[in-house]
Each structure stands twice: as structure tokens, then as C-alpha cells.
Amino acid sequence: MTDLASAAAPKMKTSWWRDDASEPVRRNLGLTGVLVALVVIGLVSAPDTFATSGNVLNILTQASAIGVIAIGMTFVIIGGGIDLSVGALTALSAVWCTTVATQGFGGGGMLFTALVVGTVAGTINGVLIAYGRLVPFIATLAMMVGARGLATKISNKQTQPVNVESINRLAENKLLGIPVLVLIFAGVTAVGWVVLNRTTFGRRTVAVGGNAEAARLAGINVRRQTVLLYALSGLCCGLAALMVVAQANAGSSSQGDLYELDAIAAAIIGGTTLTGGRGTVIGSLLGVVVFTTITNLFILNNLPTEVQNIVKGAIIVGAVLVQQFQPRDLFRKR
């Protein structure tokens, strides 16, 4: 009876290119194309300034804080949620870690405070969503408003200058010629990729976002995973807050304004689907870099910011359209 097993389906040879395995690459292809186009525009419109190593590092430095947040956001969205509070959590962490009292503990104390504040607030988001059964949109919207308010209250609407030497120097510090902030961004991206693609945590994230009921019936603790995802996003905000503070040499409740929109947009144009279960860290990285490059081009060419936002809007739509269009459609016989 076992010989029934030998009937195999007819197989066709397919190139790697048309295979499932290449899908992440194909999905990021459009975005890479956009980036290449932007570089070409930069080379043409600002030949002297665009391609300098100083400018490239400048772009990456600009991208670093928002990039760290976008990585956390990517996990939340893949897990089937959304986090609107990231900008506010960045402000709250920034303010909390720059109070006079906290600064007394030095750079390490400030980092610790920022991370703890972000993580705790993120955990509250997660608990409200997983155990309080609030819709992610509502829970994080409330946190967005509340955390920004708390940040304003703590700082008393004042900008809090930083007097800690190590933090003030952080933004200028370089390692092997690369700014430390960029290295942090690169490190977070690498860790994010590994966690998403190689660990059980990543698998669970995809499962919970892709089909929560299936995940539950497979024995995965969906609620716990949800809490962890929002805590992770909060942790990223805490880290980003310190990076923002280091760049401004100050903490203020207006920092991180509209970061939630940039982070969500970066993840979306990077191929992460809002319905959950699908997305890549590399896509979000490219998304952030594309946005920052656009800003950079506008500054180099002295163009008004209104136009810049129009272009960004167009890019969001364009990138999503490109992702839906699979290159293999090109080769298909009709």
C-alpha cells in the first residue's frame, strides 16, 4: 500500500528568479530602483555636494533614529498590530532621560532611563491590547496623546539641555570613520533581521500576525507575544530617544513629532502589509533611507518642503503599486 506514495506531481524547472525563495528580493526591487533613481537625480542636480562621503553619512545619520523606530514598528505590524505612539514615546523617553535628576547618573543612567521608560510604556500598550482587548489603533492613539502630555508636563514646556559629556559627544563620535549613530542603526537592523528570520520569536510574530487563531491552536501564547511586540517597539523608541537627544544636545517634549507616520510609511513602502503576517526588515531599512534621501535632495537643491511632502506621498503610493506588480507577470504568456 505504501507504494501509493510514489506518484509525484509533474514538476517544471523554474529559475530561482521566479521561485518563492526570491520573493523578498523581488519585493524590495522596486524600492531599490527608487533609491537608485534618487541617487541619479542627486548626482545630476547636485554633482558637487551629493556624492561626498560627508553627505552620505549625513543622510544615514538623519535616518538613524527614525530607522530604529521603524524596525520596531515593522515587528508590530507583521504581528498584526499598529503603534501610533512611537513619536510620543520618543518624546517621553527623551524628556525623562534629560531631567536634571537623571543627568546626575551620567550617560549610562540616561540610556538606562530612556530604555526603561520606552519599554514600560510599550508594555502598557501591549497589555491594553492583549488583555484589555482594545483595538491597537485605539490603545496606541490614547498612548500617543497621553505620553506626549506627560512629556510636556515633566519638562514643563522647557527644552532641557544636556550637560553630560559622553552624550554630547555621541553624535560626533565615529568608529572607523562611521558615525556611532549610524552604527547603532546598522546594529539594530542586523539584530532585527536575525530575530525576524532566524528565531522562534520571529516565527511567532509572523504566525500571530498571519493567523492568530491558528497560532493559538498551535500552542503559541498569542497574548504574551503581543505584549512582547509592543514592548519591543517601546524599547526601540527609548533607544531612538537617546539618539535624538544626542543629536540635539537637549531633550524636549516636541521631539519625535510625527515619527509614527514616517515609521509606518517606511514599513509600508518596504513591503510590510498592514494586515499582518508579512514584511521584511530590509524593506523598512530601504524605506527609511529613501525618505531621508528625498529630504536631503530637497535641502541640497534649496527646494521648498511642501513639494517634498507631495513627493513623499507619491512615493508611498508608487512603492505599494510596484510591490503588487510582480515582475513575473512580465514574462507570462497571455
Partner: protein, 513 residues
């Protein structure tokens, strides 16, 4: 039952397919299919899982475009750009996975996409009337028009699906495994409806893996193997052995593996007075190590709910579940999985599969930590384990890197069951494990379940197919309206007795009040 094969229809062909080819990346799903359907006949499509049946009907219904080949409909060569075009031409389809909108009402679902309207406003009265007419024509005018479809039992949903197809003046009705979700008496009702439609001159294309149904309902049979037609227009009287031979290229000797002579001893699972109000009450039974216990009953008799409650996916109102004499934490799947329980749920798409993920990840989902070191998944080990399971269950294609979405219905089912074969499962709860699985793979699956039992795994099996319960299980529980009404050793009870015990009031009538 009438033997429809006595009156073969020989009208002009309504539909002819020649040399139809459809490829997906990596698979030639259809590789030169020939099919002729005549007016007023019931035409069955047979073939193993992944043979291309669903793909074929998707080509017919305009959901897929063929790469090559010709479709002739009512004498003219056609090419349907989309499902709307096929519907306008008179081809209605009921897909393998029901495609109703659960939150919309019965009437809204039936008229979805072609609601009677005036200046953009739906004429609700006309809509209800049209929906009622369609349901009455199917002999089910009692189904409440205003009820959300998601709250109807499976059989009634099926009727709604058919009513939707009929409300479009179809000349041909395609049904992809409609009986898979139905219980025994509901299947006979379905057959009655199909015969009536046939007598009204409508052609029906019918797909099923239950060979005994072929003889009951079909006029002619076309067999597919690996995307090719291997036999066309066979009479329905063709012996089963020959049909199986044409499908698989081999013969199938026995379906159910023999039971071991020794009665299993000991106790693995004990369920005491388990109750969920409105679903089932006072369920008490045991499962021993190495024992297969089958639960027979109608769809809606509370079997799936009972299974899910044992597994901790639902919280009981009373009673408890003990594994090895220790109480399981109620309502906790994690506790159940830790104790070695595994559940292959009824609804594979909504309850079990990550459709966008590879088969490997789907099979590995319940044993992530077993194939991980310090939180890192050992993908090689996972792949090897998944491949072995795929091998055991005859997954086609066997490649575990394919996305679950691209597998045929029966093969998706194998992935769901396969998840719990990775080891560590001591008590396997199977809810309709062979739904949509072909004869060959079914025999293989039974063999796998029996060999698991021989290794000491306890199995609790729910199935709407009474012969399956009787053939595979050592002991049988019969459920009716949420209560276990009978318990017997499988050898000591026959199909007839089980059906008598089970049939006290059908579900469709239940939906009427």
C-alpha cells in the same frame, strides 16, 4: 435511490475543453485536459489531491486564465476574462472553500453582486423575494433570510451558496467537493437537489473524493491524473477498483489498517462531566495509550466544540480534563500542548494554516522550541523533520518550501495533520482529518494514525463519515445534540446502528426555527 447511470443523456455538448494548460511557478497544474459536459447531466471529476480539479474549475469559472487550449461553451469558443464574465455566460461555481461573507445576511449573500436596485439603492423587498425564490427552489425556504450567514450550520451555508449560484440563471453549476462539509443525511438532501436541477436541464460538474457518491449521483466520470485527462466519459457504473486505478495508476487493496488484537490498557486521558452550555453537556469518557477512540455524530452535535474544549481552546462551564491523572488547567492551550495534546482543527484555513508561509513553517509551528537552540530556529533540522512528515503523508508536491496557499485543498489538510506528527504528541485530537483527502492518501493517513497508536499515542477522532469512525477506531462514542448517547467497541456496532442513533432531528430543520 435512483440509479442515474441507466439514463445517460446524449444531448449536444454544452461545454468542451481541449488541450487546456495552466501553469503556476514550479507546477504544471493542468497539462492538456480534455472534458466534455452535456446538457442535463451530472458529470463527475475524479483525481488525487493536486491532480488539478480545482484549477480546472477555476479556469472554467474565469478565476484563472488558461495558458493554452480551447474552451467551447454552447458551440462558441470563449475565454472568460473574469468570474463575472463566466457568470453572465451561465456558469455558476461553488468553490471548495465556501466564499460567503459571514457577517452579511442570507439574502444579501445570495444576491451579492447583482442586488436588485433603483438608482443605486438596493430594493430590499425585491432582494428578499428573489432570495426566497432561490431557496424555495432548493427546497429550503425555511432558512431565515435575515440571519447572518456565519451563524448558520455548514449544511445551510452550502444551500445558501447554491442559491447564490442559481439566482444567476445558471446553465451549468460547478461544485467543488460540496459534500466534504456535510453530514450523511445532508448529503442525500444535496443529491436530491442536484437531481432536480439536472431534470430542469442544468448541467452539474461534481467533484468529490468519496467514490461511493459517484455511483449515486453521477452520469459520467472524467478522471484527471497529474493535470492530464486519463479517462473521459466513463459510465458511473465503472467498478471502483478501475476508477482508483485510473486515478493513481495503482490498485488499492485495503483501506483501513488491521486493529491490533490486544486491547489497550491503561488510561491517558480522562474527561469528567465536561459541559459547555448550549454546545455539549456532561461528556465523560477515557482514552487509553495506543487507543483510537472515534466520535460519530452530525455536524453541529457538539463534537468539534468538545474536542476544542478538551484541548483548552474553549473554557468549560463544568467538568474537567485529566491527563495521566493530573488536571489540565482549563481554557489553556499552552497547558494542553505541554501535556502532549495536539489538535488538528476542523477549519484548516481559518484555524490552522499560515497561508503565506512555507509548508515547512506551517508543519513546524507547534514544535518551534523543539527545533530551536536558545531561541534560534535550527532550520535544517526543522526542514528535515517537515520533509519526513511530508513523505509519510504523501504531500504533493513534496517540496516543503512552497507556500501553503499554493497547495491543493487535500494537501493543505495533510499539512494540518502533519504538524502534530513531529513527535512529542501523546494524545492526538483529529477533527475531520480526511476532509478533502483522496482515497490513496486517506489510506496512508489511516496507516499513519494506526502506527502512531501502536507507538502508544492515544487518538480521539471526530468524523462525519461513519465508515471512517468504524473502520479506524477501536472504540466508538456516538454524540447527539451535545450528549454522548452510546459507547461501544467498534467491532460490536455497525453503520446502520450508528446512523439510527445519530439521526434524531436534522440540522437544517434546526436552522428553521
Amino acid at each position: 435511490m435512483t440509479d442515474s447511470a441507466d439514463t445517460p443523456v446524449d444531448g449536444p455538448p454544452l461545454l468542451t475543453l481541449t488541450e487546456v494548460v495552466k501553469t503556476f511557478p514550479g507546477v504544471r497544474a493542468l497539462d492538456g485536459v480534455e472534458l466534455t459536459v452535456r446538457q442535463g447531466e451530472v458529470h463527475c471529476l475524479l483525481g488525487q489531491n493536486g491532480a488539478g480539479k480545482s484549477t480546472l474549475i477555476k479556469v472554467l469559472s474565469g478565476a484563472h486564465r488558461p495558458d493554452a487550449g480551447q474552451i467551447t461553451w454552447q458551440g462558441r469558443s470563449v475565454s472568460f476574462a473574469d468570474p463575472q464574465a463566466a457568470m453572465r455566460a451561465g456558469i455558476a461555481t461553488i468553490y471548495q472553500e465556501l466564499d460567503l461573507v459571514p457577517d452579511m445576511t442570507v439574502a444579501e449573500n445570495i444576491l451579492l453582486g447583482h442586488e436588485p436596485r433603483t438608482a443605486g439603492f438596493v430594493r430590499r423587498g425585491a432582494m428578499r423575494a428573489a432570495a426566497h425564490t432561490a431557496l424555495t427552489r432548493l427546497g429550503h425556504g425555511e432558512i431565515p433570510l435575515g440571519r447572518p450567514v456565519g451563524r448558520l450550520p455548514a449544511a445551510a451555508q452550502q444551500i445558501v451558496s447554491m442559491a447564490r449560484a442559481l439566482s444567476r440563471e445558471a446553465r451549468m453549476l460547478i461544485m467543488d467537493e460540496p459534500s466534504a462539509v456535510l453530514a450523511h443525511d445532508e448529503v442525500s438532501n444535496l443529491f436530491r437537489i442536484i437531481r432536480e436541477l439536472r431534470d430542469q436541464g442544468i448541467a452539474v460538474v461534481y467533484i468529490s473524493h468519496r467514490l461511493e457518491e459517484i455511483r449515486q449521483i453521477c452520469d459520467r466520470v472524467t478522471v484527471l491524473q497529474d493535470g492530464r485527462t486519463t479517462a473521459a466519459d466513463l459510465p458511473a457504473t465503472t467498478p471502483t477498483a478501475e476508477l482508483v486505478g485510473r486515478m493513481t495508476g495503482r490498485t488499492l487493496e485495503h483501506v483501513f489498517p488491521p486493529r491490533p488484537p490486544r486491547a489497550p490498557s491503561g488510561e491517558l486521558l480522562r474527561v469528567e462531566g465536561l459541559t459547555r452550555h448550549g454546545e455539549f453537556s456532561d461528556a465523560s469518557f477515557t482514552v487509553g495509550p495506543g487507543e483510537i477512540v472515534g466520535i460519530a455524530g452530525l455536524v453541529g452535535s457538539g463534537r468539534s466544540e468538545l474536542l476544542e474544549t478538551v484541548f483548552g481552546a474553549r473554557r468549560p462551564d463544568a467538568g474537567h480534563v485529566l491527563v495521566d491523572g493530573r488536571r489540565l488547567k482549563p481554557g489553556s492551550v499552552a497547558a494542553a500542548v505541554r501535556a502532549g495534546l495536539g489538535l488538528a482543527p476542523e477549519e484548516r484555513k481559518s484555524q490552522a494554516l499560515l497561508l503565506g508561509e512555507p509548508v515547512q513553517n506551517n508543519i513546524g509551528l507547534a514544535s518551534l522550541s523543539r527545533h530551536a537552540t536558545a531561541g534560534f530556529v535550527r532550520r535544517g533540522a526543522e526542514r528535515a523533520a517537515a520533509t519526513e512528515v511530508a513523505d509519510r503523508l504523501e504531500l504533493r508536491p513534496q517540496d516543503v518550501g512552497r507556500r501553503a496557499r499554493t497547495l491543493s485543498g487535500g494537501n493543505q489538510q495533510k499539512v494540518v495533520v502533519g504538524r502534530w506528527l513531529l513527535g512529542g504528541t501523546r494524545l492526538l485530537l483529529l477533527d475531520e482529518p480526511t476532509r478533502g483527502v483522496d482515497v490513496g492518501a486517506r489510506a496512508e493517513l489511516y496507516q499513519v494514525v494506526r502506527s502512531l497508536a501502536e507507538d502508544g499515542v492515544g487518538v480521539l477522532l471526530v468524523s462525519s463519515e461513519v465508515p471512517e469512525v468504524l473502520g479506524l477506531a477501536d472504540r466508538v462514542l456516538v454524540m447527539r445534540e451535545g450528549r454522548i448517547v452510546h459507547e461501544a467497541r467498534a467491532e460490536e456496532i455497525d453503520e446502520h446502528t450508528v446512523l439510527d442513533l445519530v439521526m434524531a432531528g436534522s440540522l437544517l430543520e434546526g436552522a428553521a426555527q
